[in-house]
Each structure stands twice: as C-alpha cells, then as structure tokens.
Symmetry: C2
C-alpha cells in the first residue's frame, strides 16, 4: 500500500470489482458442477446446482443496485464511468452463465434415465472444458485490465463454435441410427447449445473489457457463432447460410 | 400540454421511454416476421429478419449510453432513478427478444428443406401468438405504468410454458416415428424453445415495471418455466422434477 489517498469512489469501485471476481468464480463452479453431474450421472449434484442458482441471481441484483448508486452519487466520468457500466454488463453475463449451468443440471435426470452415448457425453465435457477455459481467461483479463488479451479471447470463440457444430452433427446422426436415442440426445443437444452460449457470454465480457479500457467498441466483425442453425444433418453439409 | 414547466430531466426521460416503445415495436416485428418466414417457408423474409437484427442492437447500445449519462448528470433518486434503471433492463430484454427472432429466422432454410410436419409448424405459430400477445400486453403496461396489469401478465406465462411442453413432446414423438423428421424437428425444437424464452423476457419486463412503480421485487415465486428439461418423451410423462 503506498501513500496514495484512497478516495471513497476508489473504495466503491474496488468493492464492485471484487464482487465481479467472486461472481466469476461462482459461475465457473456452477457450470463445472452441472457438466460433471451430467457426465457422472449424479442427480444429487445436479440438485445442488439448481438450488445454488439463487446465489448468482442475488449477487447480480445487489451489484446492479450498488453500481447504480455509485453512478448517481459520484458522477464518475470517462474510464471511471465505464468501469461501473462495464461491471453492470459483466455481472449480467455472469448471471446468465449461471442460468445456463442450471439449465444443464435440470436435464441430468432426463439424460441419465436413458442409454448414454458415452462418446457424446465426452464431447460435451470437452466442449465445456473449452468454454470454461475461455471464461477463466476472460476473468483474468478483467482482473489485469488486459484488453489485448481480451481481444485474443474473442478470436478463440470460433474453436468452441466449431466443436459445437461437430457435436450437433454427431447427435443428429446418433438419433437417426436409433430412435431410442432421441430423448437423451435432445437433452444433450440443448446442453451443448447452452455451453456454446457460455462461450458467447465470455466473448461479451471480453468486449466489455475492451470497452472499459479504450472507450470504444471492439468492432462488429465478431467471429460468428452458431453455424448449426442452418445445418441439415443427413449429408453432414450445411445448407445455404443465412449469414451473421 | 399544461402550464407545468418541463425540466430537462423530464425531457430526457420522455426520450428514453419513447425509445423503449420503438424498440418494443421492432422486437415484436422481428419475432412476427421470423415465425411467418418459418411457416410460409420464406427464405427471403428470413434473410431480412437476420439483416435487421442490427437495428435493435444499435438501439440498445444507444439507449444504454443515454441512460447512464442521464444518471450521471441528473442524479435522479427514488422512482426517477428506477425509471432509468428500468429502461436499461427493459431494453436489454427487448434486444434479446430480437436475437431470439433472428435465431428462428436462421433456422428457416434447414427446416423448410425437409418434409414439413404441418401441424407442428402450426403449433409453433400458436405458441408465438401467445408469446407476442404477452409482449404487447407488457409493452402496454409499461406505457401506462400499470404494475397491477404487469403482475397478471407474469401469471399467464404458465400458459406459454404448458403449450411449449406439449409441442416439445409432440416433436419428440414425431422424430421417433420417422428418422427423416429428425433434422427439421430439431430445428423446430430450438425454435419453440426460443419462443418460450421470449415469454420469459416478457415476464422479466413485467417484473421491471413492478419494480419501477413500487421499488420492490415482485416476489420470487415466479411461476416456473421450462418443464421439458426434466422430461423423457417415450411415455410422455415427466421424469422426477429437479425443481425451479
């Protein structure tokens, strides 16, 4: 700690930044546990993920209120203002990541009651490893205010999208091979989609970090997300692409 | 117009409220056109929905910035502050409704290339009628600041959820009957899920209206949403429910 006098605004900002980091850890844990419940067929773990969703909901609401009061009381400008606005946006993304984890957890019972296509569940585990790595990286860039690193994270979202596309195709094929796979695979499809969206939220956060540091948008040429929307599965080739 | 002197804060608030209403109309139109493209097998309409998504993205970003500047400059308190915070939340929900519309539009090509289960597409049309009615109602309650009406809207979200559940079950059955239906039905499943989420966003908006007027949360006993997460289709009966 140096001689610098800590103003009250700085204290409020520090509080907010610390809460974001706690929320990040909680979001990560929710997703990790949800996917683990799916893979290990663990209904009681799934239950606890669903029950714990309230933690992030509450944290987001509190952070929102605190951030707004800080803006109203302190009237921060320029980067100070962007810090607070950015925190509101990031906490919103983290809360939604938590929701996606909850939704995966809710599917555990339906999936595990049926025959498990093991290699597909493994694919989903791998997809979630990638998404969680993105999330960790982006939380680290937030902590270090490293907007260059945030930029490189956004670029890597394509990896997640490519893997999601391949899992989507595999799941459709598996469903076609045997109708008894349809129910479990449908829930796995939704789970995979949820994980792909977690990657999108990590990308949102990367964009917010860039905005906080530079005051500018990262540019609209975001590597585009879900290619499966236009995909027909039989031949494994995508139909005419409707674009971004 | 009476003698009352219009302050600059009032003007800014009016501007924000008007923009929300424009965004609401645009979100409604995006969803309507996306579902219409799905039903009429109209790829060119689908293209235009995808292209127009930028309108809501831009509007939300502008409203966000404007609202934050208003808070910083005017330091509104109590209901005035809640008006602005509420507008930020509502514009976020409207932008996401637009995204869901875009996602449905992107599925049009994949769905229409395959044999169309007409009754299922009709089911989705009906589901979207319900969701759009919720959206219109909630935008009206916003315009009239009628939080009692907003409360009744939230209660009706259950109707949408029940219909979504029944469509989900039908789609699974249809996939099991003939594997050639799997691709189209998968995209219809995702489309139905997107529409169900539009209903959730309408519910969020209802909760925000209640918060603006009363300063309180509507209560956590929200009628709970997607029952299909725990559903196994073969027997048509839901598996053990993992709760909210």
């Amino acid at each position: 700690m140096d001689e610098h006098i800590v103003t009250s605004y700085d204290q409020e900002l520090k509080f907010i930044v610390r809460r974001i980091s706690e929320m990040g850890g909680q979001a990560e844990s929710q997703v990790e546990r949800a996917v683990s419940a799916l893979i290990k067929n663990d209904a009681s773990l799934a239950h606890s993920v669903v029950a714990d969703d309230i933690i992030l909901d509450t944290a987001q609401r509190e952070l929102d209120e605190r951030a707004i009061m800080t803006i109203a009381k302190r009237q921060p400008m320029a980067q100070d203002l962007r810090e607070i606005v950015g925190a509101i946006r990031i906490s919103n993304d983290l809360e939604r990541i938590g929701d996606l984890g909850k939704n995966i957890a809710k599917r555990v019972v339906a999936v595990t009651e049926h025959q498990q296509p093991v290699q597909l569940v493994r694919g989903i585990e791998h997809l979630s490893d990638l998404a969680l790595e993105q999330l960790r990286e982006v939380l680290d860039s937030y902590a270090s205010r490293d907007h260059r690193r945030a930029e490189s994270i956004r670029a890597r979202d394509e990896e997640i999208d490519a893997m999601y596309t391949s899992i989507f195709r595999e799941l459709l094929t598996y469903m076609m091979e045997d109708p008894r796979n349809i129910t479990a695979c449908t829930h796995l499809l939704f789970s995979a989609k949820n994980i792909e969206r977690i990657g999108d939220h990590a990308t949102n956060i990367a964009e917010t970090i860039y905005y906080i540091k530079t005051g500018e948008q990262m540019g609209l040429d975001r590597p585009k997300d879900d290619r499966t929307a236009t995909m027909t599965a039989e031949g494994g080739k995508p139909a005419a692409d409707l674009g971004a």
